[in-house]
Symmetry: C2
């Protein structure tokens, strides 16, 4: 059985080897595995969970690299297939700390990961995984959208079924369509997680508590609102938890959200309290924000515990794998 | 007055810093100016000609880089504008000498350089340049296609009006449409240059002499067929010239054709004999094939003369700028 099964975006991150400059000035690039739900699977694997990702590459050398990289990170690639005639997407970024990390996607004419179709899914594996993670981007085009709803039907709202509210305007014809799709999806999942911009798309409000309550009202059992410098809010019908941000000198903000996601999966599966889980996830995100790389920077459980010190869930309660 | 005015493709070449491996294995990349007619303008500038390129970038940092790079190479960028909402194309390649240099274009949803429209052209400059260079790729989509024919109308088949038969199947819906467009274009230009694959698209034959004659019959005054290891054939109504290849240990075959093109422009404008011109262009191409880079590798006239030794046009006749 797979602990964490994610579904959606993959690509090659072609990221600058020079920091603090624009793509106008950058001279050289490194090549990394990328794509949010793929990085979540990497982050979970790094924390000791068995993980896999359901995605699609182009039938090209970059696609083969994705398999190689997944293997190196210990992520099962059995649900990664190639789509003919579509290039593996590449993503450029600028690394301009502390707070400017623009992303440039090359996902046309269509990203292979949006070609995941319902009849290709291993519904038994999807129903059988302990935690199923998908993102709003996967709802932006068919047949991927239908595949997501088919996967959720197979889950039958079984915990943990997580929706990352990941919203990127360039993937959508307009905000209204994104909003409608998120609303439909919220009824199919048990956990929703997003930043302020993303919960606004889902709920229409930027007020964290109001947004979290709206997410619960829409059907989830746990709503998590990431507020950057204001910390993280977690809400269930029974408790509301707010944890402060972990201070970090930001090198590259990209990937921090995925590190948070992988750690969230880990905390949920460990059965930690909501507060411990969010503290742990926050620290994992901070560690990656303080590092240049994304996928290669995902921390181990020991690294997260070291950052948390006395507050680490592993220290106070054990149970770490 | 501009000596050499080219029109068409531009992009950012994101080329491997490791040689002999696929994109699966490559670890780092360099960033270079790219796009065939742009490289021809660079090659001509390197040989001392004044040159400019008519093209379009995205409204993004890579587009600004293209302006910077043109400036560094001494190519006038006054006809380079940005198209909103389309990314500057990027191109990856594999450098697998001696003869395998696959290219991976990211030019979707549409390349800005195919958005050049007839009403944006400086027809006075196009009519006034000593040599106007365009490529078949510019005919693959509207409004670029109409812009090319408008430019040629402004030229009125004035020498030198060069068509690079540059054919890349992925830019076309099918061979038949490419063939039709090339045929229509051949009546508008005075020089046609291409390799065996490209002259076959234009003429239906891979036999160099037969193809050259067919190009003359279609309306050009000078037909040039590049035969790789078999050298180059040049044909006018008055003479047929064959020059042998220049032996070179190939490092990266990409860009050699554009070096040949820039040197061809130079030889024509110098008024050299056809044989001298083709020898010089052949040597320029060989120099770039023996170097890793493309645009940054374009040789000076002295470098070409050094390779040619006693056979250099500059040695026997002078006239080099």
């Amino acid at each position: 059985m797979i602990d964490v099964l994610t579904m959606g975006r993959v690509g090659v991150d072609v990221y600058p080897l020079q920091v603090g400059v624009s793509l106008r000035e950058v001279e050289t690039f490194g090549k990394y595995l990328g794509g949010s739900p793929t990085n979540v699977a990497v982050a979970a694997a790094r924390l000791g969970r068995s993980s896999a990702v359901i995605t699609r590459t182009g039938a090209d050398p970059f696609g083969l690299f994705i398999h190689d990289a997944l293997g190196e990170y210990g992520v099962d690639d059995r649900y990664v297939a190639a789509v003919p005639d579509l290039p593996t997407p590449v993503t450029f970024c600028e690394i301009r700390p502390p707070d400017d990390f623009p992303i440039f996607f090359y996902r046309h004419p269509k990203a292979p990961d949006l070609e995941i179709s319902p009849d290709e899914l291993d519904l038994e594996a999807i129903a059988g995984t302990r935690l199923f993670w998908a993102t709003v981007t996967g709802l932006s085009q068919e047949p991927s959208r239908a595949a997501h709803f088919a996967a959720w039907r197979a889950r039958g709202r079984m915990p943990y079924t997580v929706l990352d509210l990941d919203y990127r305007p360039m993937f959508w014809p307009g905000l209204a369509e994104a909003h409608d799709q998120v609303r439909a999806a919220l009824g199919q999942v048990t956990v929703a997680v997003g930043n302020i911009d993303e919960v606004e798309v889902a709920t229409g409000t930027r007020k964290p508590h109001q947004a979290a309550r709206a997410l619960l009202d829409a059907g989830v059992e746990l709503a998590i609102v990431k507020q950057g410098g204001d910390g993280v809010l977690g809400m269930t019908s029974e408790e509301t938890v707010e944890v402060p941000p972990v201070p970090v000198e930001v090198v590259n903000g990209l990937g921090a959200g995925d590190a948070f996601g992988g750690a969230l999966c880990h905390g949920l599966l460990e059965g930690w309290s909501l507060e411990d889980t969010l503290r742990f996830a926050n620290a994992a995100g901070a560690i990656v924000a303080g590092r240049l790389a994304c996928a290669p920077a995902m921390p181990t459980a020991d690294e997260v515990r070291d950052m948390l010190g006395a507050e680490a869930p592993g220290r106070t309660k054990g149970g770490e794998r």
